[in-house]
């Protein structure tokens, strides 16, 4: 058996090595590229969202490389996503591929996850299953922590490109660690590598919050690398959605970490009274939280035809008007033009910068007074 799981940010880096050690022949698909997207678009229903298309393209690429089984989360919710594995299996079978599809039926159930892990690996006892799953979750948390450091350090770096090099090295160190203790050691090492990057301590960069649909935010290919584009413009990105937070809300592997979803419900209450699918409640709640934390503005990211985020985006428009808070909504699908996106991002950053500085002297002079 040669197993693959479609990409979602660094998720594949988190589980590949761990599962390999336990006798799973893991074969992650190649990182998503234009080729992946083209494949996905060719065989997907037109109105399926971008995550579906990238997933499908990923699966086809992996199958072409000789993979014979696919693991895909499924079950109900958080949106149409629950049905994706079923439809994707259907499409792939019609294309003539021969494979077996393993899906987790209940995304919220830990027991179900462990059962799935045991069914694909040579892990015997339930206890070992839990330990392995815990290790994967902790790795994901470590990746997320390093990435958030990256966003904090990048706009302040003194030598251009140093942060990027440090980040790549850190991901590799964490990826190659074996076992829980080695992971802790690797994480500490990565942490100190990131903190060794020379930064300008006086620098006060603009802060932009990133919120929206989780896949499009986490997979840089899906959002045309918006976060790194912003970081290169000298903006500190404050991401509101993390994969490890999402997983922690479900599995509570870090029991003392606040439950993000419940908190978001509380924050969002004045505008949205109950969750309306996907990450909509977090988008609304965390926008209000970012506003209170004096983050300069919010970029809301969603795939085209995403119902839950569309609900959120309408509410965001109202929040923006009520609080006079700059919010930019970006919709992604295979037709987004890079030039258009760049112009929007630049204009948004200019807007925030000028709003912050309110160059009144210059404006008074411009007006001829």
């Amino acid at each position: 058996m040669k197993l693959t799981v479609p990409h979602m940010g660094l998720l594949a880096n988190a589980y590949t090595n761990v599962l390999r050690e336990h006798g799973v022949n893991m074969h992650p698909p190649p990182k998503p590229t234009i080729k992946t997207l083209n494949l996905g678009v060719r065989y997907s229903p037109e109105y399926a969202c971008l995550p579906f298309k990238i997933n499908l393209g990923n699966m086809i690429e992996a199958l072409e490389e000789g993979v014979d089984s696919i693991l895909m989360p499924g079950g109900y919710g958080p949106c149409r996503f629950g049905y994706y594995s079923v439809i994707q299996e259907n499409i792939l079978r019609r294309l003539g591929y021969n494979f077996s599809m393993t899906r987790t039926d209940n995304p919220d159930s830990l027991a179900d996850m462990i059962k799935t892990i045991r069914s694909i690996s040579n892990i015997k006892s339930k206890k070992d299953g839990y330990l392995v799953f815990y290790l994967i979750l902790m790795r994901m948390a470590a990746f997320d922590k390093i990435e958030s450091l990256y966003f904090r350090i990048k706009p302040r770096e003194i030598n251009r490109g140093e942060t990027d090099r440090a980040y790549t090295e850190c991901v590799k160190i964490i990826e190659e660690s074996k076992g829980y203790l080695k992971l802790l050691k690797a994480f500490n090492q990565a942490n100190s590598i990131m903190k060794d990057v020379k930064i300008d301590r006086k620098c006060r960069p603009l802060k932009i919050g990133i919120l929206g649909e989780i896949f499009v935010i986490i997979e840089p290919f899906a959002n045309m690398d918006v976060e790194r584009k912003l970081a290169r413009m000298g903006v500190e990105v404050v991401r509101g959605v993390w994969l490890s937070d999402w997983l922690n809300d479900r599995f509570r592997f870090k029991p003392f970490k606040p439950h993000q979803n419940r908190l978001s419900c509380k924050w969002a209450y004045p505008y949205l009274k109950y969750p309306s699918g996907g990450e909509s409640i977090e988008t609304v709640g965390k926008t209000l939280k970012f506003y209170k934390e004096k983050i300069d503005g919010v970029i809301h990211i969603m795939p085209f035809t995403c119902m839950p985020e569309l609900v959120a985006s309408t509410i965001l428009q109202r929040i923006s008007n009520d609080l006079n808070y700059p919010i930019l909504s970006l919709t992604f699908d295979e037709h987004v033009s890079e030039a258009n996106l760049q112009t929007r991002l630049e204009a948004f950053v200019d807007l925030l910068e000028r709003k912050k500085k309110k160059k009144e002297i210059v404006y008074a002079w411009l007006s001829g007074n």
Binding site: T33, I34, K35, T343, E346, A347, R354, K359, Y363
Partner: protein, 319 residues
């Protein structure tokens, strides 16, 4: 004579202006890009050199071709069109609250409060309602674009045309023509459709307060102005240099920056034989299109790749 140069390389037209130290417009030109931005820029610069031969203290570039222009001419500041348009509108009209900007291929709505941009939107899905489409329709009807805009003013009963998509708008227009509606009514109907399309796409949920400025090439078309006024029931102001606003904004930004030493490469650029070419990198499946500008045999600029494999090469060549 000295001044600040502002360049706006748009999809359809290229604009070049020279501003004085005080921000007065000394010289300006507006010409079709015709798909050859390099040659058009060279010609415009040559004309400026011939007529005024100014010394340039700063250069600002904007427009969709800003990257190209910056590489070619040497710019002190490279800004997006939205900021550039907002700056020049604020300069022109101190209390402006809303800017409607419709250019060759895209349209923008900029909301300003207290002389700061607070919100903007830009067309994504469709180019209906932009200059290219209007020009295409004018030529299909065998009219000049000037005549086209004016004839809309003589309409008595504008027909209703579906304006969601350019292709459908065109077929609907042909249909209305064949039903026997007169030309003025059809053109006025088209203007209405484009305005509706603009407001539905860009202005949704945004409050368009007066004063409203209308700039960009399409502002030359009085039919659209009247259609906006009819739809919004508000006065629309068209600034004097409506088509040059982006370029003026770019040079105002250069003026605001006041570079100690400009990066302007000098007027000699126009006499060089510059060629551009592109190729697809096959380093990874992304297949980025890489653009290369050559001066004779020497590569002077390269961009378009995602990973920096080629554009970083350029840095090693240049420095």
């Amino acid at each position: 004579m000295h001044g600040y140069l502002g360049i706006d390389v748009g999809s359809v037209t290229t604009k070049l202006v020279l501003l004085s130290e005080e921000g007065e417009l000394l010289w300006g030109t507006y010409r079709k890009t015709l798909g050859q931005p390099i040659r058009v820029l060279q010609a415009a610069l040559a004309k400026l050199h011939k007529e005024l031969s100014p010394s340039i203290h700063g250069v600002g570039v904007t427009g969709s071709g800003r990257g190209l222009a910056a590489h070619l001419i040497g710019a002190d500041i490279v800004k997006n069109e939205i900021t550039a348009h907002a700056i020049s509108a604020i300069k022109h009209h101190y209390n402006v609250q809303t800017i409607i900007e419709i250019g060759g291929q895209d349209s923008k709505l900029i909301i300003i409060r207290d002389n700061v941009v607070v919100d903007f939107s830009m067309n994504t899905v469709c180019a209906a309602g932009t200059g290219s489409f209007l020009e295409h329709q004018a030529s299909r009807l065998g009219m000049g674009i000037d005549e086209f805009g004016k004839s809309a003013l003589h309409a008595t009963a504008p027909v209703r045309i579906a304006g969601r998509c350019t292709v459908f708008a065109e077929s609907d227009m042909i249909h209305k023509q064949q039903m026997g509606h007169n030309l003025e009514d059809i053109i006025a109907g088209l203007c209405d459709a484009l305005v509706r399309n603009y407001l539905n796409n860009l202005a949704r949920g945004k409050e368009m307060r007066e004063p409203i400025l209308f700039q960009g090439g399409v502002a030359a078309n009085p039919g659209i102005k009247v259609a906006f006024e009819r739809e919004l029931k508000k006065e629309i102001i068209i600034p004097r240099h409506f088509s040059l606003m982006g370029a003026i904004g770019a040079s105002l930004l250069a003026l605001e920056m006041k570079p100690r030493k400009t990066k302007f490469k000098g007027f000699k650029v126009f006499s060089h034989h510059l060629t551009s070419s592109s190729f697809y990198c096959d380093g990874c499946p992304n297949n980025c299109g890489v653009i290369e500008i050559k001066d004779g045999e020497e590569v002077i600029a390269r961009w378009g790749d995602n990973c920096g494999k080629w554009s970083s090469l350029e840095e090693t060549i240049l420095k």
